[in-house]
Symmetry: C2
């Protein structure tokens, strides 16, 4: 999986604990504590400055929602990954000029292309510790559900208060499952424009085949620019808007890095689960991961069959197929990772030792053991629902029409509640985005494929142990005398797949929605009790976690000792490491860096290895030794392309700036290696690697492949 | 492809020329000439002895027909690959004791298992140059067909005279397409017994997935013993037979080899085509190889579909599927190899330079250019038949019943001729083996699969350019109104798929066979003119080659200069090289050696990575540092398993002994790497590698995994 964050559907808990490894995803306020280690490794700037949003490079690191980016000029020029910009590029493509295929460089600012109404840049402005307020709210509560509600209420109130300033978006980030709470205030820039994208054949060179793989040769970059109103404040898109002047932007270095060099990655990693209990980890590794592997194998087979039906179906289902194929590869790597790393056995052993040590200390035992037992009990209570929840989650995600119906119905039910009590993602502030997402979904709607997916999940439900089956689905199949018959009936007379009636239903109240004759709306209504029970279980679990997991984590921490970092939670983090290759298996060694020689070596002329002629010719000029002003970007008479580091990253880090020992931009994080797929559960320093594009490849390309010299100048690179 | 020789179906010529590379497949009489190079590289025995069948290790190197082997004890103990012994192992398996799965060690000589009536060991006894006799026969002939017939007649007469001694099998080997002829006399040992085979999970560890791949961890060995009558002469199998006493056997070394060491491979490489003309190479690379890739892709799809029909079909078609999958992988590698190596462009350039230099020298031009032009013309005449010939070849090979019918009919036609005029492989001396092979074929007969294959080839024929189509097939399809209808009609009322009638037809004369109502026999009869024309074209081409290719090769040689080796032709050769890893692609380095650590690393418990528990426990004892008498076989506290070398090998070399600088046995050649699939056309020293099993893995296994200490003793290894 490229390092984009799509939410961790495998994590049963929303936020988890702390870890002990030397590597880690450090919060800005921890940098002081790790300063001695950084100095030892050769940091050449002050660690204090590195941490300071107002003084150091971290102030230039911004969130795109799912991806990270950074400012690289005083005029709001932003660099991120190509795969984080695909939506904006597609949006501006026309049948005559497919920008995805051809790439794009805005010759002047006037040529910069609006990324659309959904595009956002969030600039972290302030992080305020609100732990006291949050924990005070639950201090005396003795029920899990009440605890969840109390936390939820305080959190929503804090957010509402913070968002009085209409230019910011706020959220309460949870660390260590409730050990710490931080209110983030992020400036929300709403006019984002595309400045440069490489052709897909550079930006996604290697495609799905190379995805997650090393050696890699991908030019995974894009440039945006942040625009604001003439008053300097965020504003909706307007031709009168002007470039945003960031308080911090990164210095771009053309000196590069080499094997063994210290590097940093600063960004917004989405979620990790490095401190699950042994029972939770066992469920993930031995139940969820294998089940999801089988499910993805089946779903990939289904989508392939459906694509054969017609050229139209083939096109419409391509994104679904790519997503499923990507998921399958991830699941294979994840299962491989769990199997090879032995982390489950290790965690069991470590937890047993931890509990034994705890129980041996009577004072400690009395103080923390009850909370730990309560956490274990809550986890155990939830475990039997895992199979059911996976089926329900994917059944309500893959078939487009059913997903639409279920979303409309859930929203209608939520609208009955006061806004502050509505679920996260279903509040008034979310409705616009929710509708936009539903409409986008319809592009991939193929009724026959919908039906095939739904049939699959109905059958999968029947195969669960009787006690775990979703009763309304069992009844549905029985009523129609078979899964196929049920599915056929459900897809007759739909309203949710008609633009007009869908729009009406989306805006309607619960009564109107539930009165609809649409069979999928009726199915959604029928499934509501199951989803509601699941939702309540989730809230109860979240409440139990807030009450007990911090106690567990604190005790676990005390037992392990050392400096620890909290699990990723989409807040700003910094990780450090070395440029370093690895050995994936006996007798194979991977070097840490790749070059343009490898691009030519992989080139076949067939996607995804179809390097553009302009690129190939430019590389050949270099290899023939022709001199140019861009020679400063070369290494060993060729163009550096990608490199590996031991930095600890995950989904959400895509586009993160890679910094050198002086805090200068030397690369962009864009992927993790195949061996790191289990790293969300445990980091393995021997074989987990982050994959970066060398910024010199971008700089050289701007000078030699596309007409981007003015952008080099803007980044402070003078080729003369 | 493991290094077994199944005949080079891609080579359009029967024997080809010489090459210029430093590496090569040298004939024993060339070793004197390369002695200085060998001395430089550290040879520690006399090069003259190395070459001498009576004095050096070459005398111990024997031919199994498709594989190579060597004597390793004074009592006729033979070591070769596991994959060369599969037939013998299967033959001795029972439902109660599956030797393929369980492996086997004969505790005493009485327990050794007969490998069956088809098993042979050929010991090269004498090589006599008969070039003068052969070339005298064609000296004054001015027609290609007459040249072929003259050569064929002299060759058959020499063989018949040589085989007056009933203990030997003789053949006239062709070097450089007729530049040199050698009469080989090989002692034919007819009682061969299985002494030891590892379990399939060791001998084929990694299976199809690892086939051709590196890093490798395969224990690809087996032990046989040669038996003769009490008079010491070859005899049919009898309990009274005694072990054969070879004049030479190899010294087995437990000292091993390490990265950079000089090694030799001695064996019987089947066929290479390193000196095709530019036109021939272009046809191979740009027509035949891509066409065969597509064909194999289609055939693999077909056999997969057919296997789904029933469990019975799945089992029967497994060898066919494995063969096709293997072929497909080979074709992919071959096409990759042609594409990446650029050998076609190189050959074109080299040939143009050669011809230009030749034409510039008027004397030379006058002397050799007419012969070269004649060769080029003959090649051009044959080129249009390539597509048709591939279809006919595979159509008459894959569908079992059609292959049976076509073989029976061809034999019946050949029987009309005097024996010495019958085609090679269809003479009296071949009939017994021909029948045995037909009978074995029937085990894989699945009528529906036969029909699917035949339908495919009928359709493929229709897609050829009209002028290249096989007319009787076009007519057949027209008569029945479609390919499916034609196939259905052809598979009704068969006699060739009934044991009794098949036997009768096999022994019948032409008239009786052609009177049969069997529709496939009738198809064979109908195809006879096409096959006959093809056969005649082949003979004409062979005659043209005998007349002109030696002239071309000699001129080519003169142009290139240096010492050259003839293309492989299933005669005894020796190749030398270094133990050496390689880089398959940028940023990847392969080490030259693997160990038991990699076996455990690959172990999943699922075939083909299901290492037996006895093996894993023995390895774990080693890794835990337990001392034993077998520690002499270890390196770095683990068991050496496989290694790579730069030796130049091909199909037929499977089982070849790998010798160290002192001529001692240190390994067994068993495969080439993926990058070497185009090596039959051009050897690439940078990326072509041979793959060997380290003999210490066998020795250690005999001591620690199976009860084979007595065999170690027999090989002169004393563990005390």
């Amino acid at each position: 999986m490229r390092r984009i964050w799509i939410g961790s559907f495998l994590a049963t808990i929303l936020a988890a604990g702390a870890a002990v490894a030397e590597e880690g995803m450090w919060t800005p306020d921890q940098i002081g504590a790790i300063a001695p280690r950084l100095a030892e490794k050769g940091l050449q700037i002050s660690a204090a400055n590195l941490a300071d949003l107002d003084k150091g490079p971290l102030g230039a690191v911004i969130f795109l929602g799912g991806c990270t980016a950074s400012f690289v000029s005083p005029d709001g020029l932003v660099v991120t990954n190509h795969h984080c910009a695909v939506g904006a590029i597609q949006r501006n493509s026309t049948p005559e000029n497919n920008l995805l295929k051809n790439g794009f460089v805005a010759a002047t600012r006037k040529d910069e292309l609006w990324a659309g109404p959904a595009a956002r840049i969030w600039v972290t402005r302030k992080e305020t510790d609100v732990t006291d307020k949050m924990t005070a709210a639950v201090a005396k509560i003795r029920s899990d559900v009440a605890a969840f509600e109390a936390i939820d209420a305080v959190s929503k109130a804090l957010v509402a208060e913070c968002e009085q300033d209409k230019t910011v978006r706020c959220e309460v980030a949870v660390y260590d499952a409730g050990g710490r709470y931080v209110l983030n205030e992020r400036l929300e820039i709403r006019d984002v424009r595309l400045v440069h994208a490489p052709p897909d054949a550079i930006g996604s060179y290697g495609g799905d085949i190379d995805n997650w793989m090393w050696p890699r040769h991908t030019g995974d970059w894009s440039l945006f620019r942040a625009y604001v109103g003439q008053d300097g404040k965020p504003a909706e898109y307007s031709e009168q808007n002007v470039p945003f002047k960031p308080s911090r932007y990164l210095e771009v270095s053309s000196e590069g890095v080499a094997d063994g060099d210290l590097v940093f990655v600063a960004g917004y990693p989405g979620s990790t689960s490095r401190n699950l209990t042994a029972a939770e980890l066992t469920t993930q590794a031995e139940v969820v991961a294998p089940q999801m592997l089988r499910t993805f194998q089946d779903l990939v087979d289904i989508v392939h069959e459906e694509q054969k039906r017609s050229p139209e179906a083939a096109v419409k289902l391509t994104p679904t197929r790519d997503g499923l194929a990507n998921g399958l590869k991830y699941m294979q790597g994840l299962n491989d990772g769990f199997a090879k790393s032995g982390i489950v056995a290790e965690r069991k052993k470590a937890e047993a030792a931890f509990l034994a040590a705890l129980d041996a200390d009577k004072v400690k035992k009395k103080k923390v053991r009850p909370a730990i037992d309560a956490l274990f009990a809550a986890i155990e209570t939830n475990a039997p629902y895992v199979g059911q929840e996976q089926i329900l989650r994917w059944m309500l995600r893959l078939p487009v029409a059913l997903r639409t119906a279920a979303t409309i119905h859930w929203l209608a039910v939520q609208r009955e509640l006061p806004d502050e009590q509505r679920d996260e993602g279903f509040q008034k502030r979310d409705e616009e985005q929710l509708w936009a997402r539903l409409e986008q979904l319809q592009q991939g709607y193929v009724p026959e494929a919908d039906k095939a997916f739904l049939r699959y999940f109905l059958a999968a439900n029947q195969k669960l142990p009787a006690a775990s089956q979703i009763t309304p689905l069992v009844e549905l199949v029985k009523e129609h005398g078979g899964e196929q018959q049920a599915v056929d009936a459900l897809y007759k007379g739909l309203e949710v797949d008609q633009a007009d009636s869908r729009k009406k239903l989306f805006s309607a109240d619960k009564k109107t929605v539930e009165a609809s004759a649409d069979p999928l709306i009726q199915l959604a209504k029928r499934l509501y009790p199951v989803r509601d029970a699941q939702n309540k279980r989730g809230k109860k679990m979240a409440g139990a976690e807030a009450r007990f997991r911090p106690v567990y984590l604190q005790a676990w921490r005390d037992h392990l000792g050392g400096l620890l970092y909290p699990d990723a939670n989409a807040t700003l983090r910094i990780t450090y490491g070395d440029v370093q290759g690895y050995s994936p298996r006996e007798a194979i060694t991977y070097a840490a860096t790749t070059t343009a020689r490898g691009i030519l070596e992989k080139h076949t002329g067939v996607e995804p290895f179809d390097a553009p002629e302009t690129l190939r010719k430019a590389i050949e000029r270099v290899h023939q030794g022709q001199k140019s002003n861009s020679d400063r970007f070369l290494v060993d008479n060729t163009v550096p392309v990608n490199f590996l580091s031991t930095c600890d990253t995950t989904g959400g880090n895509s586009g993160s700036p890679t910094l050198d020992a002086r805090g200068r931009l030397v690369g962009l994080l864009f992927d993790g290696n195949y061996e790191s797929m289990a790293s969300d559960w445990a980091f393995d320093t021997v074989r987990n690697r982050s994959i970066h594009v060398d910024i010199r490849y971008l700089l050289w390309s701007l000078a030699e492949v596309v007409q981007g010299q003015h952008l080099l100048s803007e980044m402070g690179i003078d080729l003369k």
